[in-house]
């Protein structure tokens, strides 16, 4: 009972301080707002309009139609013409363009003999007929750009010749669930919830106790009957509300601006989010008991934040990582939340069906709280 009133004392004190600290309060709103707008528009894994150049040795009507047809795919945007390949490669080195299309002198003959143009399928050993009609030279250092250009390799050529496109039969039929239009924002916005919460929650709490120590308040607090666990809880609870507010901002705007569907149940989302907020806050507390000043606390926060962005599956698929990285990712609360939030919002999964992730978050919170309370000794030794 007394413990509760002490937690309440710390809780309301924390709120009053937060109310006074206009900058931090502003950050609570502005961080999710601005970052959502920025990343929601900016992050796009469908690469388009890659700046490209042309080296046209044939200079025929056909080569010009070829260039137009490729331009119409919007994968590349031709901006420069070069006299020869050497000049073009120099331009790639200067990063003026990322790729160059080299059209050989005999492009018409090559096209005429190309198997897709209607002479039927010649034996593949026939060197004369199985040649490509032109060549791409690409800055291959960025794998995403390289992959985008590679996707042009089997571009249908039929429309070049004013022929109706042959209905080709694909080997596999692909059905895209949950995001049929393949919009990156659908995947990014829910993930952004995890990233922004990781950042703000860990940062706020890690600074919260360190600040008390730096300003000397802690020396006074530990001579009072406050218990470590009461102090920890009193500090965490206000930030849980702030976290919930941020989630509401991100998902609300995501729905309005980016048209991210909300398929799941609200309570499911609330459950998953509260677990994740608790885990992040506790991680912040552990940091605050390790750090000696606010600078150290910030450094440690970034130490956790970077893997949370890069390994959690926020941008790069978890499945693509080597096993060691996957194990590290499994430790991070952000990874589990990323699965939960995308599951609930996009696929309408019940969190009970993803209990492995929920249990891990709960475990993380409990262990973290124990470590933080244990590490926060009520003396100055």
């Amino acid at each position: 009972m007394k413990g509760l009133s002490r937690i309440q004392a710390i809780f309301s004190k924390e709120l009053t301080q937060l109310k006074r600290d206009k900058m931090t309060f502003g950050m609570v709103i502005m961080i999710p707002l601005i970052q959502l707008m920025l990343f929601g528009f900016a992050i796009n894994t469908n690469v388009r309009h890659i700046p490209a150049g042309i080296v046209d040795y044939s200079q025929t009507g056909l080569s010009r139609i070829l260039i137009q047809t490729i331009g119409a795919t919007q994968v590349v945007k031709f901006s420069q013409q070069y006299m020869n390949v050497d000049q073009a490669e120099a331009a790639i080195a200067r990063a003026e363009i990322r790729a160059v299309l080299v059209i050989p002198k005999d492009v018409s003959q090559r096209l005429a003999r190309h198997p897709t143009v209607g002479l039927g399928s010649p034996p593949s050993s026939d060197e004369e007929t199985s040649r490509a009609i032109a060549q791409w030279v690409v800055d291959g250092s960025d794998t995403m750009i390289a992959a985008a250009i590679k996707s042009l390799r089997y571009m249908p050529l039929a429309e070049l010749l004013n022929k109706p496109v042959n209905r080709s039969t694909p080997t596999f039929e692909v059905t895209l669930l949950y995001n049929p239009e393949q919009r990156t924002a659908v995947n990014i916005v829910p993930g952004l919830v995890g990233i922004i919460l990781t950042m703000t929650m860990i940062m706020f709490t890690s600074a919260a106790i360190v600040r008390e120590r730096e300003r000397g308040n802690l020396e006074m607090l530990i001579t009072t009957p406050v218990r470590p666990i009461e102090l920890m809880l009193g500090k965490i609870i206000p930030y849980m509300f702030i976290g919930a507010l941020q989630v509401a901002i991100i998902l609300g705007l995501g729905y309005v601006v980016f048209n991210v569907p909300f398929n799941g149940g609200l309570w499911q989302l609330a459950g998953a989010t509260l677990m994740f907020i608790a885990a992040s806050l506790v991680l912040g507390l552990v940091i605050s008991t390790l750090a000696k000043n606010q600078l150290q606390a910030t450094q440690m926060t970034i130490f956790v934040l970077l893997p949370s962005i890069l390994l959690s599956g926020f941008v790069f698929p978890y499945e693509g990582m080597p096993e060691l990285a996957q194990r590290i990712a499994e430790i991070l609360p952000a990874t589990h939340f990323m699965r939960l939030v995308r599951g609930v919002i996009l696929r309408d999964v019940e969190i009970i069906d993803m209990r492995y992730d929920m249990i891990w978050l709960a475990l993380f919170t409990a262990i973290g709280l124990a470590i933080a309370s244990f590490r926060f000794k009520k003396n100055l030794d």
């Binding site: 002490r6 004392a9 004190k13 000397g216 003396n379 030794d381």
Partner: protein
């Protein structure tokens, strides 16, 4: 029921190789104001932190209000108040909010809380500042707020670590009035200071130097039993006189006070005035007079050993 609120014996505390407190014996009587006098870095704060259970001793035994430390530190907290050297309430909360926070921490609520806070605000003259942020108040106001917060739960024993270091003399005098009020109401107080005039107000005091207790007792007893003579010399060239006197082994120290030189002589010298007359730099027309020792003289005599070492080097 014993009459001592603090009993410590052979208390020591090391920080790595640094011996902050060595073999401290302490007995503080109930209802008294007990002072720790010593220069900065002599271990006053460490001693207070040991006695409040904030630090664990490297050796020795402590009993505070009958609680054995460090074992019962948590239980002791309800019975003591601690005013830290640095202002440790919240700069970004108002006076009212700070006191409200402390009251809730000690389990006061509703009417009892409001009554106690109003009482403290009027006792410590904070009526004009209740809605002011603590960070924007003057040194004197902040210190009164800190004392109000430390005494909110009516502790039996109050620890004050250099409470007046950031306060002007008038506020210091008022502050001590409040301490005597608290003492009259039955609270025991342990206060550390490096001001001689404050130390003289204590019922009893201990002189600390480099973590060792050099002397303790009431200020009067300490002055009477100092074991040194104090002679004031009025002369023309005091700077030179001081240099020549300091090399004499019987002279503990000499300090200039305006137009006079205050000389401390060891009490192995039977007749201090005659002894000084014989010294070569004392002119016949110079006036010499034996004066009553002050607490500063006691302090210098007690801690003289190390000063002599520094003098020789």
């Amino acid at each position: 029921m014993n009459d001592y609120v603090i009993k410590a014996s052979n208390l020591s505390r090391n920080f790595g190789d640094i011996k902050a407190i060595q073999g401290l014996d302490l007995n503080v009587e109930k209802g008294r104001i007990y002072g720790f006098l010593g220069p900065n870095g002599c271990g006053k704060t460490t001693a207070i932190r040991l006695l409040t259970g904030l630090l664990k001793p490297s050796a020795g035994e402590i009993q505070v209000l009958g609680f054995t430390l460090p074992r019962d530190a948590q239980k002791l907290r309800l019975h003591i108040g601690y005013m830290t050297q640095k202002f440790s309430l919240y700069d970004d909360l108002t006076v009212q909010e700070n006191l409200g926070f402390i009251a809730k921490i000690y389990g006061l609520s509703g009417r009892a809380k409001r009554q106690r806070i109003d009482e403290l605000i009027s006792t410590y003259g904070l009526e004009q500042t209740t809605q002011q942020l603590a960070g924007t108040m003057s040194g004197g106001q902040r210190q009164r707020l800190a004392l109000a917060a430390a005494t909110l739960h009516k502790p039996e024993l109050l620890f004050l670590d250099e409470p007046t270091s950031a306060v002007d003399p008038e506020n210091r005098r008022d502050f001590w009035e409040k301490l005597f009020d608290l003492s009259d109401q039955g609270a025991s107080i342990l206060v550390s200071t490096h001001y001689m005039d404050e130390a003289e107000r204590c019922h009893k005091l201990a002189i600390l130097e480099t973590g060792i207790k050099r002397a303790d007792g009431s200020p009067e007893t300490l002055m009477e039993e100092m074991g040194a003579h104090v002679v004031e010399v009025a002369s023309s060239d005091l700077r030179q006189l001081k240099q020549s006197l300091l090399v004499i082994p019987e002279v503990i120290t000499a300090a200039q006070l305006g137009a006079r030189l205050r000389v401390l002589l060891k009490n192995t010298v039977a007749d201090p005035l005659a002894f000084l007359r014989q010294q070569k730099n004392i002119a016949p027309e110079d006036t010499l007079s034996l004066v009553r020792p002050s607490l500063e003289d006691v302090f210098v005599t007690c801690t003289g050993k190390s000063r002599q070492l520094s003098k020789a080097s």
